[in-house]
């Protein structure tokens, strides 16, 4: 028998069940959309990073940088005159805001126009004036032409550049022109001016940020290294960029993990739908086999149909993913800018690879999902034509075997996670194995739970409840697929809720432990960052201030991550309860005084510090590279390159900072913070850049930052919920169609339409309830994996898993409500059952 008539017959069958066919296509589309949207967000971060940095680094092979993130300008002169290296350019780069350009963060790039020719293709169009005159003679800056057009600005328009709250008035001297649209976007993140104006705006006097170099030979690099004084070093540009770029890779990996979760669920739900579709046609397949269709004919027909819808669904999914991805880019770029590095350009990047990946994911997922149902359809025996229960009985015999098989797969997943080297691919494989293994446990678990519910007196609630429960085990082959899918979806909800809940609790605990003061005073001056010692003394003398902790926090250069924050404290009065990943063996302050340091988990991860006593890390200091003994690794939730705690003496000796950058004030009990804050404000000059905030306000703002991190997670959760509901609705509709004859009998015997609806809704409720119950252990396991494996590897954070009972109840309620909601439409349809037709259905 040829396949064409069979395919025609299948497609006609799908047309007759249009709603379910559309739901199948929609389910595939949503799964693909999740993958595409995340991929767009990820690649866009990469593209935005490239655009934000390419204009700055250009063709340089090396850079000279300083430990304090700036170097004397004299170094540039020496390099040119003493060493004769002419392909060198001084650079100042710093993030500023320009009020006339929408208050966006931009990079102020100070360059020497005469040195630039080797490095950057900055097409400066200075209007009517001479370029060198514009750059050196007046307070003129260049901005991108497209940017100026966007804000209706022209040459001569005034601009106000803000560094913190320090404001400098400049004018637009000309435009940056681009060769093409890609470089055009790149230039939008820049404000270019000459070195001296940049120094004036940033109050850097005779300092610059770095020197860009083009070096052809290693010998030249070696010569420079020998020439550089203390606190200066030569780095390779690519290596440095890779180090900075690497900061957010882990975050992007976690996004992939979540999009894989969405895809896993997609696979389950597509399998669910296809499996139902095949079961519905069991009799038809039997007839076809009886009249001469081969197993291959049936297999090919089922697969062909699934693949047709997979292609349609995947195409729609890609389109939907592009729409969702565009929205997700903003959220992801904002998170990366907030936590890792500032992106001055945000670019939505949609590559052919992303589209191909989405299409392939949808088609492969549908293939995998359709394969086993198609195999099962091909195995239909003509003799089973009149006996629907034959396949059900066969399945029932398989149940114990499936359970044992599921246990083996779960054990293998656990082994893979414990023994494999950390790699996202292994984690995802193990995660999939956990879902798959758990799904194989469901048939037996469902049987047991139904039995328990019936013997616990559920049956005494009435015949409808009893029927609903028994219907679940009667069609176990189908219900177990539906309920396994619902269990997976609910477990993802539990996993993410427990993960975010535990994380939030840890953050609250951490904030409470570390920010114990009632009032915080800190410098917001991006240049000096120091608090005036007289001011500190005056604050100390305030009558209601009982004690005071002083901190010294400075960013310094790091080869491993671009920038790290060094932290020292004097008279720390806060109830500081460090949580240690690797705890120090001796008293904390004594170790610090001996020159040891403590580092955060992220610092340790970035600098490859092995958490054991005696581990050392080399840091760039004003005295050159110095190895420091690491006394302990503490849990910390600050991102970027991480933090290291040093003693004030070490900070002063190696980095030259002996100032105070922030204070925590501890007030006498029952003293309201606001009047004291007001008193301190009155001590300040209007131009002082000092922030005074209450402890509570600081805590809230920290929590808000971390809540933002999970915005994208919540969006993915919503997406998976939509995928789930679609699949459940499809499955419930198909399953309840199986009940049509039974409904006809009940109606003929005198059951009211309301009672029939009640029966179906009861059944749906139990689908949800039992799936919710089964999801609790799986969700707990998933949250463990998310917290201790994926999150730890992604962010470098470790925190305790806190099981919140409310989440479990919420999950059961959600799962029951989702199944009930999915049952409403079929129940209404069941109420309209045409009894004579239903009675004649097989």
């Amino acid at each position: 028998m040829g396949n064409r008539p069979l395919i025609r017959f299948c497609l006609r069958h799908s047309r007759r069940h249009l709603v379910r066919t559309l739901l199948l296509v929609f389910g595939i589309a949503m799964g693909v959309a999740g993958v595409v949207a995340i991929d767009i967000a990820k690649t866009s971060v990469g593209k935005s990073f490239e655009l934000s940095t390419r204009a700055l680094v250009s063709r340089s092979t090396h850079q000279i940088a300083g430990t304090g993130l700036e170097i004397p300008q004299q170094v540039f002169t020496d390099i040119r005159t003493d060493l004769g290296i002419h392909r060198s350019a001084p650079v100042i780069s710093r993030h500023v805001k320009v009020s006339e350009l929408g208050d966006r963060i931009l990079t102020l790039l100070g360059v020497d126009p005469f040195s630039e020719t080797h490095f950057r293709n900055l097409h400066l169009s200075p209007g009517e004036q001479d370029l060198s005159g514009v750059m050196t003679g007046s307070k003129g800056v260049f901005i991108s032409r497209s940017h100026a057009r966007q804000y209706n600005l022209d040459i001569g328009s005034p601009l106000h550049i803000f560094l913190g709250s320090r404001k400098t008035a400049v004018t637009i001297a000309g435009f940056l022109d681009s060769e093409n649209s890609a470089t055009g976007r790149m230039l939008e993140g820049l404000v270019v001016t000459d070195i001296s104006l940049a120094q004036e705006i940033l109050e850097m006097e005779d300092h610059i940020t770095r020197i860009d170099l083009i070096l052809d030979q290693d010998a030249a690099a070696e010569k420079i290294r020998e020439h550089l004084g203390e606190g200066l070093f030569l780095v390779e540009t690519d290596q440095q960029n890779t180090a900075v770029r690497g900061l957010s890779y882990s975050f992007e990996t976690s996004l992939t993990a979540f999009s894989m979760l969405a895809l896993f669920m997609g696979i389950f739900l597509i399998y669910n739908t296809v499996s139902f579709s095949v079961t519905r046609r069991h009799r038809l397949h039997g007839i076809l086999r009886a009249i001469g269709a081969t197993r291959a004919n049936i297999f090919f027909t089922v697969m062909a149909e699934v693949m047709v819808y997979a292609v349609i669904g995947s195409v729609f999914g890609v389109l939907l993913g592009i729409l969702l991805g565009k929205g997700a880019v903003q959220a992801v770029v904002a998170t990366v800018s907030e936590m890792y590095f500032t992106l001055t350009v945000s670019q939505t990047h949609i590559s052919g690879f992303t589209i191909a990946k989405g299409l392939l994911a949808g088609i492969l997922a549908a293939f995998v999902s359709g394969f086993f149902p198609a195999l099962s359809a091909a195995g239909t025996r003509p003799v089973s034509l009149m006996h629907r229960t034959v396949s059900e009985k066969g399945f029932n015999r398989l149940v114990p075997g499936l359970f044992i098989c599921g246990l083996f797969i779960l054990a293998a997943a656990a082994l893979l996670m414990r023994t494999a080297t950390p790699h996202a691919g292994y984690d995802f494989t193990a995660l999939f194995m956990i879902f798959f293994g758990s799904a194989l446990l469901t048939p037996l678990l469902i049987r047991v739970i139904v039995r328990v519910l019936l013997s616990a007196g559920m049956g005494s609630l009435g015949m409808m409840v009893k029927m609903a429960l028994r219907n679940i085990t009667r069609s176990l082959r189908q219900t177990s697929v539906l309920m396994a899918s619902l269990m997976v979806v609910t477990s993802v909800f539990i996993g993410i809720e427990v993960m975010t809940g535990s994380f939030r609790l840890s953050i609250i605990q951490w904030v409470d432990d570390h920010i114990g003061g009632d009032i915080h005073v800190s410098s917001t001056d991006p240049l000096t960052q120091s608090l005036d010692t007289d001011l500190v003394e005056k604050i100390r003398q305030l009558p209601r201030v009982e004690s005071l902790s002083a901190y010294n926090i400075h960013p310094v250069f790091s080869r491993a991550s671009g920038k790290v924050h060094l932290f020292s404290y004097r008279s720390d009065q806060s109830v500081k309860r460090w949580s240690w990943t690797a705890a120090p063996k001796e008293e904390l302050d004594a170790l610090l005084e001996n020159g040891w340091i403590f580092v955060s988990e992220i610092f340790a991860q970035r600098h490859h510090v092995i958490p054991r006593q005696g581990a050392a890390v080399t840091l760039e200091t004003q005295k050159g590279p110095v190895p420091f003994q690491v006394a302990g690794i503490f849990q910390d939730f600050f991102m970027g390159g991480g933090r290291a705690v040093v003693s004030p003496e070490t900070m002063a000796r190696f980095w030259g900072h002996d100032d105070i950058t922030s204070l925590q004030l501890f007030l006498a009990s029952d003293t309201p913070a606001e009047p004291v804050m007001e008193t301190i404000r009155q001590m300040l000059d209007p131009e002082d850049m000092i922030e005074i905030r209450s402890g509570n306000a600081i805590k809230q703002s920290i929590l808000a930052v971390f809540d933002n991190t999970f915005i994208i997670t919540s969006a993915l959760q919503a997406l998976t919920a939509i995928v789930a509901l679609t699949g459940i609705l499809n499955a419930v509709m198909a399953l309840l169609l199986e009940r049509t004859r039974e409904i006809g009998i009940l109606r003929a015997c005198g059951t009211l339409t309301g009672q029939v609806k009640q029966l179906l809704l009861h059944e749906c409720f139990f689908y949800g309830l039992i799936s919710g119950i089964m999801a609790i252990p799986l969700g707990t396991a998933l949250s463990w994996v998310l917290i201790h494996i994926i999150n730890q590897r992604s962010f470098g954070w470790t925190y305790e898993m806190v099981l919140i009972p409310g989440v479990f109840f919420q999950a059961i309620a959600l799962s029951s409500a989702a199944a009930l909601a999915a049952g409403i439409f079929p129940a209404l349809a069941a109420g309209r059952t045409h009894i004579p037709t239903a009675l004649h259905m097989e």
Binding site: K466, N471, E742, R747, A748, C749, G750, T751, T753
Partner: protein, 229 residues
């Protein structure tokens, strides 16, 4: 209760065209008697039972069951009427597979909120008469065809309905079992003075009839029962 069929029309949509089943059909099926409906396949015998029970409605005309004009009732009223006054026996038994024998029998009474004791007592009496009380906790799939049909008969009679409708009740059984089942239905109906309307192709089953009707070309015509015995 008498069944008065008055000038009913009934047609179905059949792939775009209308297939007429009844055209101004009328008949009186007397109370307490066994009426048998005969005719070729597809002439509308089962449809007539559906119309009498209120499962389906005539396009025109009406059907009166006792004092109740079932054709003019709304769906809920028809369902409750059916539940309380009509018992239905089918060719394929139509038992609910997830309910035990006893639960199948007491289902409708329970839905009608009849006290459990009452319906269980009545079910026990009938199941004992049918020889199935020992199997009351078994599920239908474990019973033979004859046993399933006996459960269906008990279910149809447990509510003491005034009217019993049987749609080819022996059509799915061997001759010997069919004869026993037919005897059971007729005996119970006669003993309890029920009106029994039965659709059948079987001459053996028709032999129990007090009155036979034939359905042909949309008309319901009384026949001489002797000619069919």
């Amino acid at each position: 209760m008498d069944i008065q069929i008055s000038n009913i029309d009934k047609s179905f949509d059949d792939s775009g065209s209308r297939r007429v089943i009844f055209r101004r059909a009328s008949a009186l099926l007397p109370s307490g008697k066994i009426s048998v409906i005969m005719g070729r396949s597809g002439v509308g015998k089962s449809s007539l039972l559906n119309l009498i029970s209120g499962i389906d409605l005539p396009d025109k005309g009406f059907i009166q069951v006792g004092d109740h004009c079932i054709s003019f009732m709304n769906d809920t009223a028809r369902t409750i009427f059916r539940r309380r006054h009509i018992g239905f026996i089918y060719q394929f038994f139509n038992l609910i597979p997830v309910l035990t024998v006893l639960e199948n029998v007491t289902l409708i009474a329970e839905l009608d909120k009849v006290p459990q004791k009452t319906c269980r007592r009545q079910a026990q009496t009938l199941l004992e008469q049918a020889g199935l009380w020992d199997r009351r906790h078994d599920f239908p799939e474990t019973l033979s065809g004859g046993e399933q049909q006996r459960v269906a008969i008990v279910r149809a009679l447990v509510n003491e309905p005034d009217l019993v409708l049987a749609d080819e009740p022996t059509g799915n059984l061997d001759q010997e079992t069919g004869a026993k089942i037919m005897e059971m239905i007729a005996t119970l109906a006669r003993k309890k003075n029920k009106t029994l309307i039965m659709v059948t192709h079987s001459p053996d089953a028709a032999a129990w009839a007090d009155q036979i009707f034939s359905v042909d070309s949309g008309i319901l015509t009384p026949m001489d029962s002797d000619t069919n015995g």
